[in-house]
Amino acid sequence: MSEPFSHQSYLLRRKVFTFLGAKFHVFDPDGEVVLVIKQKAFKLKEDIRAFADEAMTEERLVIRARQAIDFSAAYDVIDSETGTKVGALRRKGFRSMLRDSWEFLDEVDRPIAKLEEDSMLKAMVRRFLTNLVPQKFHLKCGDREVVTYRQFFNPFVLKYQVDVHDPEAVEPRLALAGAILLAAIEGRQR
């Protein structure tokens, strides 16, 4: 595991003004940029690239959808430095209609953890009444919470706090990919 992914907490922030597509930054607890993420617009098959800095010369992660049209889409996460697949994330299409729900998978698609929105009631309020209620997600291995994703109350800038409680249980690169997909895929639906 490389140094940038060894922290206990991260902050993901969506850039407000981008011409086409979307851009996100991931900061470490000291405020240093860990990842600069570029999501291209009009891509049939989602292909998100994460770089080490603003120059976007050193690629760190690739998140790529398996199919162009897929209701329960799966996204592979590849470490660009080593060229190996870290794991995958699968969105549970039908369940996510009411409450965002994802499955974290290992390199050969075995489930390792489940990500869910905090409560069904709050999920319904966000969907049918107002999306001003900030989201909170729990990533659990069995009953044990290993990562928490918390959205800040800010109607203008999408920001997530990522707290990694157990880096041994879920690969931190996969945990960060989860935050990126929450912001890029679920955030787009709002």
Binding site: R64, R66, Q67, A68, I69, A74, D76, I78, T82, G83, T84, K85, A88, E107, V108, D109
Partner: protein, 90 residues
């Protein structure tokens, strides 16, 4: 779970991957690098194939009723060639 054959794009090692990984990536057991798993036939392919099949059956039946067996054979033959082209030619 069914498995699909994969040839590593980096070292050429042939191996098998779970079919759920179609269109995605799997780590090669030899060099450990991520290599793409062939996505196989897309849903759009099956939509095209099914669409031509349904239209073909409909038009062949219509041609057989109005133009007799010869008409049905001609129209049916055209659609059969189209289906074979979609299945094996595309």
């Amino acid at each position: 779970m069914s498995r699909v054959p994969v040839d590593c794009a980096h070292c050429g090692e042939p191996f098998e991957a779970p079919s759920s990984l179609r269109g995605g990536f799997v780590n090669c057991p030899r060099c450990q690098k991520a290599t793409e798993v062939s996505k196989g036939l897309e849903p759009t392919y099956w939509l095209l194939f099914g669409g031509v099949l349904v239209v073909g059956i409909g038009l062949t039946t219509l041609a057989a009723r109005t133009g007799g067996p010869a008409g049905g054979l001609v129209v049916g033959g055209v659609f059969l060639v189209a289906l074979l082209l979609i299945r094996f030619g595309l």
